[in-house]
Symmetry: C2
Subunit: 149 residues, 2 copies
DNA sequence: CAGTTGTCTTGACTAATTCAAGATAAGGAA
DNA sequence: TTCCTTATCTTGAATTAGTCAAGACAACTG
């Protein structure tokens, strides 16, 4: 681990701590894994974490992700048809672009201008707290190639 | 069944037939069930269908819903945290308002004006085909009452 | 450095959905 | 109308994603 990594680790640890959670190797590893794959499933995070910390269980990863999610350290998204994905980019109400060919997920900033997405034409008396937008389409490589699984 | 119902059944049957599918009692029952509960889970549709056609299996309902979905007769939505829901309102790219208190789902017409929701700020090279917007909030009754499960 | 409390491991369990094989019924042809 | 073909439905098992619970263990507090 380089000095930069050490600093990064320190920052991550502070983040975890200031969320009122204990800092553990598994938790740091989960955050690292999400830095590598910004939209990873629990299974995928587990694979990454397990590579570095072989004793880690899948349930631990589910537990860490649940704790982080409720602490607001990570955000959980559930594109239709896929398992839940987790990302570290939180607090900015951004949206997602999902490739129907290869399931790749990319972030997109909030739609046109401010947050028109927060104002449905008719809220039917609901107190709208948030809006989630998912754009479905083909990513650049799937547009050209027939199919890239 | 009244004359009106008979006409409705006829219309439903035509819809099924023109989608290239065979008309069966189960399929009509599924469409009726979705008319009653416009955002129903497979389990809920099954309950309704089974009430009228006791021999019907849950798998048949899953099969019918899958066939209808791929034929474009019904639309499948998957709000995060819930099972898949099915609705008969198709072809108009409308969106949904989901109550975080009681899980009620309501339709909302496309956001502000035309379809700004189809234009992400930066599409990152994707060929965007559709956009799905989910508004999360509290429905009128959950706004007043503490919790209505 | 020891105690307390939160976290992790192990293992079982549930919910939602899918797959497969055979029985059955719908729609077209004779 | 009756038969034939093919789609659909039934039964039963399997899979995937995720949750729950009990005890072992490790992180922070004092």
């Amino acid at each position: 681990m380089t000095a930069t990594d050490a600093t990064a680790t320190h920052t991550l640890a502070d983040g975890i701590r200031s969320a009122g959670l204990k800092v553990t190797a598994q938790r740091l590893a989960v955050l690292y894994a999400l830095a590598d794959s910004p939209h990873a499933s629990a299974e995928r995070v587990f694979a990454a974490v397990h590579a570095g910390l072989p004793g880690t269980s899948l349930q631990a990863v589910y537990g860490v992700l649940a704790a982080f999610t409720s602490a607001g350290l990570v955000r959980r998204i559930e594109p239709a048809g896929s398992a839940a994905l987790f990302e570290r980019r939180v607090g900015d109400n951004h949206h997602h672009l999902v490739c129907t060919g290869c399931d790749a997920v990319h972030d997109v900033d909030c739609v046109v201008g401010e947050a028109p997405c927060l104002t449905p034409a008719d809220a039917r008396g609901f107190a709208v707290a948030s809006a989630e937008v998912t754009f479905w389409g083909l990513c650049p490589s799937c547009r050209t190639e027939p199919a890239t699984p």
